[in-house]
Amino acid sequence: MAIEFKPSPSLPPPVRSVGAVAWVRQNLLSSPLNVFLTLFSVYILYLIIPPVVEWGIINASFDGESKADCTGSGACWSFIGVYFDQFMYGLYPSEETWRINLALIILVILIGVFAVKTVNKLYLSLVIILAYPIVAYFLFAGGVFGLEVVETSLWGGLFLTTLLGVVGIVTSFPLGVLLALGRQSNMPIAKSVCIVFIETIRAVPLITILFMASVMIPLFLPEGMNFNKLLRVLIGITLFSSAYMAEVIRGGLQAIPKGQYEAADASGLSYWQSMILVILPQALKLVIPGIVNTFIGLFKDTTLVYIVGMFDLLGRIQAATHDSNWLGTTMEGYAFAGFIYWAACFGMSRYSMRIERKLETGHKRN
């Protein structure tokens, strides 16, 4: 008779390898060098944190109408309070700023609806991508339903920053996908057009593109045929970041094994079907970190519109620090700007990590 084979039972791990104490031992104090680095880091934190807290909170002043009212030795946060509306909305008329808030609320609600399970996600995406921008545009610009017209030259502050960032991201992404596919394609003309576009745009600094958009293009256009500066700048930013996006996505396309293309072809899927259903979902998932990297870069690059006379968040803050009532508040202004940019970029980064984890379930590559 044959002997029956019984696998040995799995045992729990040794006690000392789990828990907080074990974590500290393993990660902070595992070797003499590690102990030194831990102590050194604690010392650096000790040097930085107390003065910052003292300046920013303990000795700071929170109310007042001018720099003279800030009596403490620390930060003068009343500067941010007084200028807050301008930092948020630029020179947008203050009785009309509800329109910007309303557009933001609508967007938040629409995105919130995504969490509802019974909603058709495709239709909702179409509403957000196609209908929402039109509604938002008319809310911002006015001129319909008795809304007062607000010139785009008055748009500014965080509103302008967000607008440039969001529109840039939303439009440069699909453009980047198309450019990446074009560069990979077998059609020689499409391929060369994409290569020339990508390589040209990447070789030019963004500032140059913005100057071209705001100063040069009007010179070339015939008299009377001019279009909005904000629109020109938006197109410049979009084209610029789409070239970078395309190269990131191309990296993802190249990482997909040839067998996936062949299996899709052999199933009878057309080119676009196989790209949209098989290749891109895998390729884009692979390059989420690179895509978000480009998004974050784009968001911060929008500060460069200051150069062509548009006052985004940073532009507004810089202008405000020149107010004779508030001279000497540069530190507070930049700290505020830094915090806003950091919060936005950190948010994007965390969100991308969440997406990555969500898409990871059961997706082990074979």
Partner: protein
């Protein structure tokens, strides 16, 4: 009898050829990978293609659904010539299922979605109906309980059976197998071969590149031996194994059978 005569002889018998190679030549750059391939496959025939690596056998069957392009000669599949006409190629691919050495399942889709993808998007079958059909084929390959898992969670043998079911979901007239068991652990080869034998018994037209000589002996109608881009010999399995005509065939068989 030369290959050309053989193909012609079959046609003269009035049997319906579903795949026809006429003087097919193919080069990879300067490398002549297929040389004057003349061969025809009848409806319902089970063909096993074998030969040493680099002999062009994979290339030959990949020409049938134009994953590879040939440069000279004609290939007719179901009476349609494989050329640059994209409409023809897509039409033929709808009717020709393919199973790859490395399975090539879509890792971002569940097993069920892998099976319903092409029926829904290419055949335009309603989703519910496609899913019912997919479950039917998954049951046939004895893997229905894994329908909602992802390919990465399955063993190699299971993945390959899913790949076969995926091919069958398009209800093809021809199934191509490109070394379907070469990437599998020995314990898993049998479960895949069982499915293939079952399929063969149901009368599916099959072209199979494989080194599983047991499979060739049991189910093949004809065994094709290729070397250096040419068809050296093609014969029914009994004659092929017991009485090979070419010394190259004899050498190959002695190497793979006597170890």
């Amino acid at each position: 009898m030369t290959n050309t005569n053989m193909a012609r002889a079959q046609l003269e018998k009035g049997e319906e050829a579903i795949i026809e190679f006429n003087d097919v030549n193919k080069w990879y750059g300067d490398f002549h990978v297929l040389k004057n391939i003349n061969f025809s496959i009848k409806k319902g025939e089970r063909i096993v293609v074998c030969g040493p690596s680099g002999s062009g056998k994979s290339t030959m069957i990949r020409c049938i659904n134009r994953l590879e392009e040939h440069q000279k000669g004609t290939i007719l599949v179901d009476g349609v010539e494989m050329n640059n006409n994209l409409k023809n190629i897509e039409a033929i691919r709808r009717d020709v299922g393919m199973v790859f050495q490395h399975f090539n399942l879509f890792p971002h889709l569940t097993i069920l979605e892998n099976l319903t993808l092409a029926p829904i998007w290419v055949r335009k079958i309603p989703k519910k109906q496609a899913e019912e059909m997919a479950m039917h084929y998954l049951e046939r390959v004895k893997i229905a309980n894994q329908a909602l898992k992802y390919p990465g969670q399955l063993s190699g043998g299971q993945q390959q059976r899913v790949a076969i079911a995926r091919g069958l979901c398009m209800q093809p007239r021809i199934m191509l197998f490109d070394e379907p068991t070469s990437a599998l652990d020995p314990e898993m080869i049998k479960e895949v071969l069982d499915v293939m034998v079952q399929l063969a018994e149901e009368g599916m037209t099959m072209v199979c590149v494989t080194h599983e000589m047991g499979f060739a002996k049991t189910v093949a109608d004809r065994v094709v031996f290729m070397d250096a881009g040419e068809i050296v010999e093609a014969n029914e399995p009994h004659a092929f194994f017991d009485n090979p005509q070419h010394d190259r065939t004899q050498m190959f068989l002695s190497q793979i059978l006597n170890h």
